[in-house]
């Protein structure tokens, strides 16, 4: 196998990608996903943690407290989020319907120490963004009330949970897990999936466009051609994955060990690319190869995710900076699989190449 031949093939494929401007599409795709996921995050945060948007936190919501006297009124009045009015229920609900109030609360005449629970009725507006925010804010008040009621009834409890005091959080950290534990491993790994789909296209194209004979007649051998295509796809992975990491960092998401992450992605993507190459060599036809490969991909990825300290988990841990020396073990295991797959690909390609030369 000659390095020069490999680079000729790889260069040819890259030229194809640039000529067709498919690379432009890939970049657009990346930007689009980045845009959408950041927007999605802002949207979800603002909805479920409204205080994160200062605009909402300055606002006081009008609510009515109706029914009987209780400690509830005191809690509501001491909350900075609400302006509380004592009203009668029917008037309150009518004002709510006209949006002069954000919520109406009815408190029954149940004693705090009664056998029965206290059932508070909360009236809010259907299908409304604002009432979703009010709900979140009211929840805090209700939780405080629940805690105190529980304290009043404490004698009736038989078992107490282990007490642990947690300091008050100062906001933030809400979507850390979403970003580092899902978005980053998926985004960084996506180029590997794209590259493995690409290698199938490149190989089956030679068969279906019947350009194979021309290629074989040059000094380049069949297996050199296969490895050249694998090389081209493999080179795309660090470029794309690196672009992702850069985009994320530009977005203000600090990523530790970016270099090690790239190393892991580049190595484990080779497994997928080789699997793709083997499938393509076997079927020689795009529809079948892509179908089988993508189904197999789902199986493989599900299986890998079910294993502890899998490569994807390692990406998460590298990104947050908690990965230990076991990363080298994972890398070695991945390398082992690559050697086996590489050997299989080489043998298969040689066999196919021979039959072509013979035929």
């Amino acid at each position: 196998m000659k390095a020069r031949h490999l680079s000729i093939i790889a260069k040819k494929e890259f030229r194809g990608l640039f000529n067709e401007r498919t690379i432009l599409l890939a970049v657009l795709l990346q930007l689009f996903i980045a845009l959408f996921s950041s927007f999605l995050m802002v949207g979800l945060t603002s909805m479920y943690d409204p205080s994160s948007l200062s605009k909402y936190s300055r606002y006081k919501y009008n609510i009515a407290c109706t029914g009987n006297d209780s400690a509830m009124l005191g809690y509501l009045e001491s909350s900075p989020d609400f302006r509380v009015y004592a009203m009668d229920l029917s008037t309150g609900v009518a004002a709510l319907k006209e949006r002069k109030l954000s919520a109406v609360i009815y408190v029954p005449d149940t004693s705090p120490s009664a056998d029965e629970p206290i059932k508070i009725t909360l009236y809010t507006l259907t299908n409304d963004l604002q009432s979703a925010i009010v709900d979140v804010k009211l929840k805090d008040v209700f939780l405080k009330y629940e805690k105190d009621l529980r304290q009043i009834r404490v004698d009736r409890l038989s078992e107490q949970p282990i007490p642990i005091q947690v300091p008050k959080t100062t906001g933030g950290g809400d979507f850390y897990e979403f970003v580092y534990g899902l978005l980053i491993p998926l985004l960084v790994f996506m180029p590997a999936i794209i590259a493995s789909a690409l290698v199938i296209d490149l190989i089956t194209e030679e068969y279906q466009h019947e350009t194979l004979e021309t290629l074989i007649s040059t000094p380049i051998t069949f297996s050199e051609m296969v490895w050249g295509k694998v090389l081209a796809c493999e080179l795309l992975v660090p470029i794309q994955a690196g672009a992702w990491l850069l985009l994320l960092m530009v977005n203000g998401i600090a990523i530790e060990n970016a270099g090690l992450i790239l190393l892991q992605v580049v190595v484990s993507s080779l497994i997928l690319i080789l699997l793709g190459a083997l499938t393509a060599l076997h079927y020689r036809e795009r529809t079948a190869a892509q179908f089988i490969f993508s189904t197999a991909l789902v199986v493989v990825i599900l299986f890998v995710l079910a294993l502890p300290s899998n490569p994807l988990n390692l990406l998460t841990r590298l990104a947050v900076g908690t990965a230990g020396p076991e990363q080298w073990l994972v890398l070695a295991a991945t390398g082992g699989i690559i050697v086996i797959l590489g050997y299989l690909t080489q043998k298969y390609a040689e066999r196919v190449g021979k039959s072509h030369h013979a035929g």
Binding site: S102, K119, I162, V166, H209, F291
Partner: protein, 601 residues
């Protein structure tokens, strides 16, 4: 009659072809893979997903607490004696000494603390769930009653507050006060029913709910909750289910795409084209098996998950839309890799359009722009109306139909086997549907039919920008909406110009611009009239579809916009397109700004 036979012959031929190709080698492997998939899914369900293991590091001095935390694989727990722990507190995200949690100020530590809080709350709930006196452990229950607002939704739903000015006095309703019955203090469920429900919700610790733990899961008790369960419901389960429906559609449309592409490789489709069968029959015939297959898959899935069968209705326009796009992608791309990238790009964009709005299904009316929201609603058991259906599917029907029309007009030799780059090909396709004898009528129609696409893109930007804080979202939306409209209007003129630059004499130029402006306006008004009244009434809508009031003003605007583009094309040729678009967008923005500022301020 002959047409039907043609179609059915081609459909049968298509089925036979793909089966002979698939059955020998692919089918056995596919069956094996399917069995493996089931096995792996079972395995994964048992061991759980290990994507986020060991994200956080915690140091604890108490073995009991260490055990409690270690039950969550996201934590790496180190049990160390108190003195060492105090010395090395920066080595951990959290340390717990004598039952007191201390956190680092880093983002990771904050996230760790939040996660720990949720874990702890869950643990506390499991302890309380065991109590014999359930109402001592859960002394407070909230009965949530929703009230329909009598005002139109447009104000608050668009992110504006229309509350009365703050006052010391309680607000007084202006309308009639109807009597609201006093709620009874008694619970509607027995203690054991409530306990079962508490068990059920606390046992729900799937991978998905990790992200939704902030939010509570839907309870079968409906609106009856403990305070900790009180949060707006995120319909995650139904959304995952929806994904199960959409995913096979991608696969099947891929097959259709490939079947079209295969006709073009090495001119294999020449035989088909040389038969006296109309190209529309060929396309319909080739598409039919895939269409039936997709509907069958969806029906089978619906029956399998025991969802109401009515969810097929909103899926059909989605299927048509996918197939129409698959047809064009198959006809446009020059190589397999181009096909892959374009289809990946298309499916990402389509997924975002379909998927993200439906996340807000319970919260915001905007979500109705996606047909998937209707599916989420059906699965939840909420009804939807014919208007809702029209509203969320009409754009899919229309764009699907237009794309099919373009495909049919261009399904001929010189287009299918040409090897030109993507953009010139798209332009060729467009000129394929323009009549040379009636250029102005063509421009009129082309612009008119671009309206559904314009609306689709604009609605997509609406969901995108809706999430931003108010002034930015308005400004971005303003610019983007103007740009999209100007681009759509430029398409017709540009196609005319590319066909024959000498066509654009001053007289023809003015006429073409007028045709474009009128076409745009007529189609815009027509579509708005039918469907989008809901959105147009909100403040976001007012930017997108501002021009509802007087007719001659928007007509003039559209005319001026397209005239700028046309003139710069005439002066600077191809390069003038970008300049013209930028100028036209700027003019359009100024116009919109003037009106909205005049309106709001």
């Amino acid at each position: 009659m002959g047409r039907l036979t043609d179609i059915s012959t081609i459909a049968r031929w298509e089925v036979k072809k793909s089966f002979t190709m698939m059955s020998r080698e692919v089918l056995p492997v596919a069956v094996v893979l399917f069995i493996l998939l089931v096995a792996v899914t079972g395995f994964a369900a048992q061991t759980g997903m290990h994507l986020q293991d060991g994200m956080y590091e915690v140091g604890v001095d108490d073995p009991e607490i260490a055990q409690l935390i270690a039950s969550d694989a996201r934590f790496s727990v180190y049990q160390i004696d108190t003195a060492t722990l105090e010395k090395n507190r920066n080595a951990f995200d959290l340390i717990i000494i004598h039952g007191q949690v201390y956190g680092n100020p880093t983002e990771r530590a904050k996230a760790a603390q939040k996660t720990f809080e949720r874990d702890y709350a869950k643990y506390v709930n499991t302890v309380y769930n065991r109590e014999t006196d359930l109402f001592a452990a859960y002394p407070l229950w909230i009965d949530v009653q929703t009230v329909k607002s009598e005002l139109t939704f447009l104000s608050t739903q668009s992110g504006q507050y229309v509350q009365a000015a703050p006052s010391r006095k309680a607000p007084v309703p202006e309308g009639e006060i109807s009597n609201v019955p006093t709620p009874s203090p008694a619970l509607d469920f027995t203690k054991e029913e409530l306990r079962q429900e508490l068990f059920r919700t606390s046992a729900k610790n799937t991978q998905i709910s990790r992200y939704t733990e902030v939010l509570s899961s839907e309870s079968t008790m409906g609106r009856f909750k403990t305070p900790s369960q009180l949060s707006p419901p995120l319909p995650f389960d139904s959304i995952i289910l929806v994904f199960v429906f959409i995913f096979p559609l991608y696969f099947t449309s891929q097959f259709f795409m490939m079947s079209i592409m295969n006709e073009r490789i090495e001119r294999k489709g020449e035989v088909l084209l040389s038969t006296p069968v109309a190209s529309s029959s060929i396309i319909i015939g080739k598409m039919l098996p895939y269409f039936i297959g997709m509907v069958a898959i969806c029906t089978a899935l619906t029956l399998y998950v025991r969802a109401p069968l009515i969810i097929i209705l909103p899926l059909i326009p989605v299927i048509v839309f996918f197939l129409a796009n698959a047809l064009l992608i198959g006809m446009l791309s020059r190589s397999f890799k181009e096909l892959s990238f374009i289809s990946i790009f298309f499916s990402t964009v389509a997924t975002s359009y379909l998927f993200f709005p439906s996340i807000f299904a319970n919260v915001h009316v905007i979500s109705l722009i996606s047909p998937l929201t209707l599916i989420v609603l059906s699965i939840q058991g909420d009804p939807w109306t014919i208007t809702d259906y029209l509203y969320s599917t009409s754009l899919f029907w229309l764009t699907g139909a237009v794309l099919f029309y373009i495909g049919m007009k261009n399904f001929k030799e010189e287009r299918l086997f040409s090897e030109k780059p993507l953009l010139p090909r798209i332009r060729e396709f467009l000129s394929g549907i323009m009549s040379r004898r009636h250029p102005f009528l063509s421009v009129f129609l082309l612009t008119g039919f671009s309206i559904p696409f314009v609306f689709m893109v604009q609605l997509m930007s609406l969901t995108l920008f809706f999430n931003l804080p108010m002034p930015y979202s308005l400004v971005l939306l303003l610019i983007f909406a103007a740009l999209v409209e100007e681009c759509a209007k430029a398409v017709g003129i540009y196609t005319l110009f590319a066909q024959d630059p000498s066509f654009l004499t001053w007289k023809n130029l003015i006429a073409a611009c007028a045709a474009t402006a009128i076409g745009f306006l007529v189609a815009e008004k027509l579509l708005l009239f039918i469907t989008l009244a809901q959105i147009t009434e909100s403040i976001f809508g007012s930017i997108l579809f501002l021009s509802l009031g007087v007719l001659w003003m928007p007509l003039l605007l559209h005319f001026v916009g397209v005239l700028i583009v046309a003139c710069s094309l005439k002066f600077w040729g191809q390069k003038g397109l970008v300049i013209g678009l930028v100028l036209a967008t700027a003019v359009h923005c100024l116009y919109n700004l003037y009106f909205i500022l005049g309106w709001i301020g």
